[in-house]
Amino acid sequence: MSIFVDQSTRLVVQGITGRDGSFHTKQMMSYGTPVVAGVTPGKGGQRFEEKVPIFNTVAEAVAATGANTSVIYVPARFAADAVFEAADAGVKLVVCISEGVPVLDMTRVWPFLVERGVRLIGPNCPGIITPGVARVGIIPGNICAPGPVGVVSRSGTLTYEVVYQLTRAGIGQTTCVGIGGDPIIGTNFIDCLTAFQADPATKAVVMIGEIGGTDEQQAAEFVHAKMTKPVVGFIAGQTAPPGRRMGHAGAIISGSSGTAAEKIAAFERSGIAVMKRPADVVPLVKAKL
């Protein structure tokens, strides 16, 4: 079992012929992901790698192939419209990898998705992988292994680091979700925690947060009130100065809110085992399994 992505996933790639899109589509296909269609306007009728049919629009791709999940690799300025298009075509899970999407674009996308019951992961995220089943996005498949731990994170390479440490220690994962580092994202920590709590195969959850916003604090309250499964947590940015954006648009301490100390305290109050450094993930998760 897993969350969001499983054996029923039928993937359409938006921007399949672009530089990033084509590179990662090959990787997703070699991982065994069911890539059923691609979309590049103007290239409808062609095939990607002589296998995957390419369409001019997502609606055509969905009608012809029954795609139910989309992954977006288009340049940032086209990303919001790509999400609108996928939602309009009836896709129920949209994973937006594109980095640099204007935040105001996302404020218009969000209510549109809510009204249609569409789940968005990202933007500016590494995507989602259910080890051994499907990789939707850019998380390297070789650092993951199937197993009992759910992973949810705001970061990209830091997620890889933590997952790699788990896998090296023989601890596999049900699903790893990178929710993205922007101020406005679709799926948040609580959505993922809810899904992991409901997934019978997930026995423990690793949650990787960072400075900025209050998502982690709210997630901590959720863990305390609603979760029976053990949660291990990490917060990046303990040494970050206030008022400076630490790479991710969302990673900024404003005033006294959004600090690592505040988030770690919220974790501790809620019974989340706190990792002081990435390597702590192995002993802490082992103790909970």
Binding site: R154, S155, P183, I184, T239, A251
Partner: protein, 382 residues
Amino acid sequence: MNIHEYQARELLARAGIAVPPGVVATTAVEARRAMERLGVPKVVVKAQVHAGGRGKAGGVKLAETPEQAERLASQILGMKIKGLTVTKVLVVPATEIASEAYVGVIVDRITRSPVFMVSPAGGIDIEEVAAKTPEKIFKTTVDARYGLLPHQAMALAFRLYADVAQVRQAADTLQKLYRAFVDAGASLAEINPLVVTPKGEVVALDAKIAVDDNELERRPAIEALRDVAAEDQKEVLAREANLTYIKLDGNVGCCVNGAGLAMATMDLVKYYGGEPANFLDIGGSSNPEKVVTALKIITADPSVKAILFNIFGGITRCDDVANGIVAATRQFTVDRPLVIRLTGTNEQAAVKILEGVGMRALTDMDAAVEQAVKLAKGGAAA
């Protein structure tokens, strides 16, 4: 991106909001002439820097004669506020004030929407109002597809004023502020204070706009407002190379791919008893040139005693990074010890490239950080 107050005032004025006249001066003489040109009995000379608390720092002063304006401007120009040098002042007529309010719009992470905030307790730090008297702040969530609706603007304005004429003026200002916010691609736009003059006019006295960096590509007119002189020069160099660099106080120079891992690396430096000298994210799909620029920036910082690379290859290829490191050492002297951790995509190729020039690479993050901290303290490598 931050823009100056005088630039934000221009954007508001262009949106039709009542903003008093003002003149920007870069020398004290210009400040005197500005007051003469304005032809008013009193002016305020205001430092233009990307920092809050200008008044408390002595960067905002009242002048009653052109000579005094010149004298005050000469004190303010060149002054440092939160580490930033003042190179411009704004000279504006001193306005008589009957009441001060706060109005602002931000992108709110929780509702994933623009949210308007207004308060009749304006003129002071709004975060302080929020902390001490939250009941004096009124909020309205905007559906970004429709914008701030007229009745929403009226309802907010009624929170500020009792006089209907003032309410109508304020509601009009709110709608124009929203338009300016959207047109600038802002993440924040605020007027603090929004004042009522003794004659009953509603006027924007101070304005602040923060622009979402992701909007700049499609808004060249806003990008043109960037004041490179007001920014840290190393950060400007980094941005032009598509890197993110932030100077910190320690002595372990860090070069990492990915913002989250970069923060975790800084934290681990601290964990092992060291202090990071900087945050530096070389980003994804990094080419060797970016790595050369990154090393140039890090080595230009005299407080750096050891340099730590922490690369987890995904989109970033480890061999690209290794080639960048080798290229950098050929272009200029890297006279401080390097500790390199590489793992992931094309790791083997990277190790070969580094070994070819007598460098070695570690695969474990903890081991690398520990060693870099030791070297920065003057110890020998393990």
